[in-house]
Symmetry: C2
Subunit: 319 residues, 2 copies
């Protein structure tokens, strides 16, 4: 099976999108644009042994490679449209490709994302997806609009994905809670619908991928503000409580990474009304407040609280 | 130096493009679109040890990673606009990053391409660029429009890049010709200007990346036609003649790959007028004719001619 057979067999699918004027198979794709909307693009790469364990199921790899990209569009308040895929793999294993494509397209179909092009090369297992979508011209979400006094929210339950990775890596046998947490790591749900609803009401938003505290610091730096994060307000995970000590759970929640939840800020005077009006598929929780000074501090029982390790940085010492 | 320092120091450049509403540094980029033009996107990946030798200079790697993508836009008749970059590298070496960025931006600046986003991760050296550009709504170039009787053209001198790779890999010491061929491999010139001029006159076009004959077969398959390629008409390379036997030169020209020249077809009755009207930065040469049957044959002195090896396929047996 050659490169072109791989593309034809696994990736040259017809999509239902009328805006794909020319898709997979030529030198490039030709796409129709929308007057009055802005194009939103993001690119994320996952590497075997770095972003997912070596034995990860191919369908989960495919799903996750797209999910982490959709999460970036969610953080902008954008609606997904097209993706391109770069797949570097060591050999053309049909069973692996079949699984990978099934996971990728399961999520692509859910959000009506067309695969319009890409590249398939021989090399170590490295997958890059570029996602493109649309946002209305009047407003999109950035990291840079948080104001002192804004309330700080997070969707879902941060830490569950990192706990799931620990379950996999340490081969923790824990029945349903272990399976639930593993699924949270392998199959992150992009918060597209939440991002769309926050588009015109949140002052800032970003997705949590490198750890809640690390990402909060980035949001604050971009906005020129600080924050108090009240760890007592963090949503508790029943599954984590069954399998992990409270301190480990807190560590995962604050620094674990891989959450792909949305971290966002709302003006204090409108926050309650906004939150009660949201159509939610997962909880959102107020976990802190934005401050005028530029420090980002955690409080526990009203006292400053320091975690053991910070979030993930690919090139930081010791990682 | 962490991931975010790398991005800030090497890749967060201001571009002169007014259509970049939000660039590097947020969850995604926000881009302005053009009414009446179509978006053209392509993605190419290069892997160390597969697409370029391990000892390749970082500036050449950066230049080449963009060049191979621009070549895809050239083949569509499109004008480049933006790129995203995924950089997987084993460690943050400042000298390497400095070189890589200088080569990448040297070419990006020449074509006014803004780097608007991407990802930097730890892993084996794998670089993916997604390029996006614009083409007028009335016509773009595809592989699928060649008609029987059309004349077949190629730009530049196919084979020089493959010869240059051989010079590097076999450490051939050959003065100026060796340096010239090496440069042809390391610094392919995307034929953007040629593609723009061919946009409304060529019946089909593609870029030659996997070998002239292999790529011609793809163009013919997409168009439902065949071709006679007259190897006596292939443009000769003075540098190749100095360093290689004629038969090896022919092998490189027909099957070498890495040319990043344009292969295109013109209607026979208009071909001469079109070619004489082109503003050329490199030669274009008629090398054959499109036929109604679907065979792709090489002729030498009027006789069928078979080459030793076909073009490059990442997953074909023995490669």
């Amino acid at each position: 099976m050659g490169e072109f057979d791989i593309i034809a067999r696994y990736f040259a699918r017809q999509s239902g999108r009328g805006d794909v004027l020319l898709g997979v198979g030529d030198d490039a794709a030709v796409l129709d644009t929308h007057a009055g909307r802005k194009l939103v693009v993001a690119m994320d790469t996952v590497v075997e042994g770095v972003h997912f364990p070596v034995e990860t199921d191919a369908a989960d790899i495919g799903y996750r490679a797209l999910a982490v990209n959709l999460s970036d569009l969610a953080a902008m308040g954008a609606e997904p449209a097209w993706m391109t895929l770069s797949l570097s793999l060591s050999r053309a294993n049909e069973q692996w490709l079949d699984g990978f494509a099934s996971g990728l397209f399961e999520l692509a179909d859910e959000y009506n994302v067309a695969l319009v092009g890409g590249d398939t090369v021989r090399g170590p297992l490295v997958i890059t997806v570029q996602i493109a979508g649309w946002v209305e011209s009047d407003a999109w979400l950035t990291r840079s609009g948080a104001k002192p006094g804004d309330l700080l929210f997070v969707s879902g339950i941060p830490g569950e994905a990192a706990a799931g990775l620990a379950v996999i890596q340490r081969r923790i046998l824990g029945g349903e809670p272990a399976a639930f947490l593993t699924h949270r790591f392998l199959r992150p749900r992009p918060r597209i619908e939440l991002g769309r609803q926050l588009r015109t009401v949140a002052t800032a938003a970003m997705d949590v991928s490198d750890g809640l505290l690390t990402d909060l610091k980035k949001l604050c730096a971009a906005s020129g503000v600080g924050a108090q994060l009240n760890v007592d307000l963090l949503p508790e995970s029943a599954a984590m409580r069954e399998l992990f000590e409270a301190d480990d759970g807190l560590q995962y929640a604050l620094a674990g990474g891989d959450d792909y939840e949305l971290l966002f800020t709302l003006p204090a005077d409108r926050a309650a009304a906004v939150v009660s009006s949201l159509q939610l598929q997962q909880r959102v929780t107020q976990i802190g407040v934005i401050t005028a000074d530029t420090d980002v501090v955690c409080l526990r029982n009203g006292q400053p609280f320091r975690i053991k390790r910070a979030g993930y940085d690919h090139f930081a010492a010791g990682q």
